[in-house]
Symmetry: C2
Subunit: 213 residues, 2 copies
Amino acid sequence: MKKLRMTHQREVILQELKKNNNHPSADELYERVKKKLPRISLATVYRNLEILSETGAINKIEISGRQKRFDWMLDNHNHIYCVQCHRVDNIDMATTEKSALPPAESRGYQVAGCRVEFFGYCPDCQKKQKRKGEKKMGCKTCGPSDLNDNQRQVLNALAKSNEACGSKDIAAATSLEAKQVSCQIASLKKKGYVASPVRCKYEITPEGKKAIA
Amino acid sequence: MKKLRMTHQREVILQELKKNNNHPSADELYERVKKKLPRISLATVYRNLEILSETGAINKIEISGRQKRFDWMLDNHNHIYCVQCHRVDNIDMATTEKSALPPAESRGYQVAGCRVEFFGYCPDCQKKQKRKGEKKMGCKTCGPSDLNDNQRQVLNALAKSNEACGSKDIAAATSLEAKQVSCQIASLKKKGYVASPVRCKYEITPEGKKAIA
DNA sequence: CTTAGTGCAAACTGTTTGCACAGCC
DNA sequence: GGCTGTGCAAACAGTTTGCACTAAG
């Protein structure tokens, strides 16, 4: 049984997590903590989130295949997430029945718990969807070295931002799915229209600006 | 709207998936399909599982942060999984109440669905746990170049198998968690006691056999 | 002083993609 | 013959680890 120390880093991580009520991923939290402790490393954030969730100080939410998210509300609530932008919100399950574990249905398992996730489209994405209208069929219009519609959208989004964006940010700004974005990013990098100053962050190049001008 | 072809590979994948009722990961399915089509690639398995689940021929289960698993039973059931060995079983929710979506609780979301997962310890892991007894504290006993208890367990498990194993197989055979296994594998590889003939598969070396002799 | 924790780089795991080629319809 | 699908290698995304050093108690 080793004892834990409250380091400055750990304190800031916890404090930053409690500051607002969304459910940041390790990555997002890292970005926020880095503003206060510029020298902190992503590995430290991961390690601390793991430790804090082991000791029960916070909750780790392992929703549906994507990256883990972290939550400091320890009461027994469940989550709803947007299948488009992957935002996560709380659902107060006090109202709904506390999903009883099925009686003899547990197949020999010693049941430790139950997780209920709702999913759908968040308010923002519903709005975006209405605006969207027709959905083009991927690479239909992409000539040999020209930009297709999706790529143009991505470039436009990057042009508006004056700092490097993650693919999720771009997805949120373009009504594309994150998967489509990162797919386009690859082609755009190859064409020299997009640069990646840091891991998983992208920005438009001067060439890219010319291309959409 | 592009049309799909039923290739031989796709057929075998589907057929192999339907053969038994567990919920293989892409990796496991790949291993099984490879016995029939030795030249198939993992990418093809992934691509087909994605396509089949998009068309609704199979279900993709995205449980809790770990790798995706696939299921050909299309009726509306839920799952229970083992937090130790990550085995997944079906739960027939006909008996339990069909978790009603909370009335005004949906926070503006357009709710598309709901997933209920139970988790706990599967029958096998319950047995193993009883056998385990004391749990050593990681690297307490690991001298500079000697084997610790976990490493010895991993090597013994590998010695018993006459083909390369994945870390999950080892975990299942040792009552260690997969995470602990892969951690130990790394050290064991460095010591030359374990080799990795293919990605994510491991086997014991002659040196390794000597070490536990 | 002891030992938990940090920063960094590099590895690992699961998954996806680009490309040239193969083969279904 | 055109287009979907394949195999391969390489990239990607998220996470974890080893190592030498720092700092909490």
